[in-house]
């Protein structure tokens, strides 16, 4: 099992007391694609960040089990964590604009990240970078190598991010809303690309998103989170048969092009969902 999470809790100390943002999340991932879907504040990003211990100082993590690639994340020291982050697990964030270094060419950034993990000469690294950019289906990768991040589109930037993350051959890719800043046409391309690469390389993927139908197209399983808990976990193909009222509500309240509704059903939340 690549990732094993049992009863994960993340809480923050605030002026008025402690606030529990993740309340007992459990799931396991092998070489498969898991989508975590939820609205803002559902704790979906925190769950993934807790796995890499990328949380703010005032966060407190507890879990019955939290392991990645055989390493106990709760007990690992900071050095071991650095070995995991970037090397064994790649992290792709929403907006490539903020994740790429604006004063370094794309080729150098990808080459640097390759060299950091694999060593070798500058020339080798550059060749590897070109190869990586080619793998993320950038046409004319040699030309793109010489461009700066502001000279490429958002979709291209996200491809570059993916290429950088793939450099050390990670076992897991965590993508936190990787396409919400992109146009619909580009969005589909990027997700298809990620899906392909993950399957081809036999990696695990955690895709975090607020878009339930979208995620179901690119994942094997979907976990629906609400208020720090997993409401329902189901295989992507069976989304239409979702049982939990929250999942159903999320699907129903979307406006639809093909099935117009005069009025959108509003999601009513039930306090009972948070019991047990």
């Amino acid at each position: 099992m690549l990732v094993d999470i049992q009863n994960l809790r993340v809480s923050f100390a605030t002026r008025t007391g402690t606030f529990e943002a993740v309340r007992g999340v459990s799931f396991q991932i092998g070489t498969e694609k898991l989508g975590i879907v939820g609205e803002s504040g559902s704790g979906k990003s925190l769950t993934a960040r807790a796995l890499m211990r990328l949380l703010p100082q005032n966060a407190r993590i507890t879990a019955d089990r939290l392991s990645f690639d055989g390493v106990d994340i709760l007990k690992a020291d900071e050095r071991a964590m650095r070995g995991l982050r970037g090397k064994r697990a790649g992290f792709i964030l929403q907006d490539p604009k903020y994740s790429l270094n604006p004063v370094m060419t794309i080729g150098r950034q990808v080459a640097e990240s390759w060299r950091q993990h694999k060593g070798g000469s500058r020339k080798e690294a550059l060749e590897a970078a070109v190869d990586l950019l080619d793998q993320v289906r950038i046409r004319d990768p040699r030309r793109v190598c010489d461009l700066y991040p502001h000279e490429v589109s958002g979709g291209m930037g996200q491809r570059v991010m993916i290429a950088m993350m793939l450099a050390p051959d990670p076992a897991l890719l965590i993508a936190d809303e990787p396409t919400s800043a992109l146009d619909a046409t580009v969005q589909a391309e990027i997700l298809r690309l990620m899906e392909d690469l993950v399957s081809k390389r036999g990696m695990g993927l955690i895709l975090i998103s607020h878009d339930l139908p979208l995620v179901s197209h690119f994942c094997d399983r979907v976990a629906v989170m609400y208020s720090g808990r997993v409401m329902e976990e189901l295989s992507a193909g069976t989304l239409a048969q979702a049982k939990h009222p929250y999942t159903k509500g999320l699907l129903n309240c979307l406006p639809s092009l093909t099935h117009p509704k005069p009025r959108l059903p509003v999601l009513s939340r039930d306090a009972a969902w948070l019991q047990s």
Partner: protein, 246 residues
């Protein structure tokens, strides 16, 4: 109500809107879809008077307007922005934000008007003296809509009003906008990248690509797939494809 003819907007050497024409009757609702960089938001900003560097003709209520607008124009036309976190002054209470348009236009009955408009956008009176950061995203967008409505405009320009919101909140806001239009007989122009959202609220949809409006199509034809332009077909196919769960 709104007539636009051959609208062109230029930023430096770069023409981002290349001759857009549209016509929205009073009480109508017109949607503009397109990808980022298609010029859809630029059209809206030129209409609203935020961007004065345009050529062509814009007429509201039969009256041509120039690059600079007077107070009477702003009584008639209001706008709701995409990001409810950025469109409210971070250091003003909701009360202050809502009273500002009333003070500018010298309107009376400030207390009563604020109470009425808060009720109209279904916000409890308790939020009145809170600051924006104490509200949720959906509540903020309701405040932004209340601010746009408080001076009783006839036209509402909506720039991606739900794209920064959760889907459950999006449904609430879309319902609210539909109700308000009916109740106040408002005229809407809605800009969005989401075909489903646009076709839900607007019976007529304009598709923009590279600064041009390549197709104006009724929502029914769009649903039925009777598209003319390949870009419209592409957007529709994607939307239909991703809309249904796998």
């Amino acid at each position: 109500m709104i007539e636009v003819e051959q609208l062109r907007v230029r930023f430096g050497d770069n023409e981002v809107v290349k001759g857009v024409s549209l016509n929205v009757p009073a009480g109508g609702s017109f949607g503009i879809v397109g990808e980022s960089g298609s010029g859809k938001s630029t059209v809206l900003r030129a209409l609203s008077g935020l961007n004065g560097a345009w050529t062509g003709r814009i007429a509201i209520d039969g009256e041509s307007v120039g690059p600079r607008r007077d107070k009477a124009f702003f009584r008639k036309v209001q706008m709701v922005f995409q990001d409810p976190y950025g469109s409210l002054h971070p250091r003003q209470t909701i009360d202050r934000i809502l009273s500002e348009p009333l003070l500018v236009h010298g309107m009376d009955n400030i207390e009563r008007r604020i109470e009425t408009v808060l009720a109209e956008v279904a916000l409890p009176n308790a939020v009145r003296f809170r600051y924006p950061h104490q509200l949720s995203g959906g509540q903020r967008q309701r405040v932004a809509i209340a601010r746009a409505l408080i001076a009783e405009p006839e036209v509402l320009l909506l720039d991606e009003p739900t794209s920064a919101l959760d889907v459950s909140v999006q449904a609430e806001i879309l319902n609210l906008l539909a109700d308000l239009r009916e109740r106040r007989n408002l005229t809407y122009i809605l800009v969005s990248h989401n075909l489903a959202v646009v076709s839900h609220l607007c019976p007529t949809v304009g598709v923009m690509l590279g600064g041009q409006m390549v197709e104006v199509i009724s929502a029914e034809d769009l649903r039925a797939g009777k598209t003319q332009h390949p870009h419209t077909s592409e957007l529709r196919a994607l939307s239909v494809d991703l809309e249904e769960p796998a």
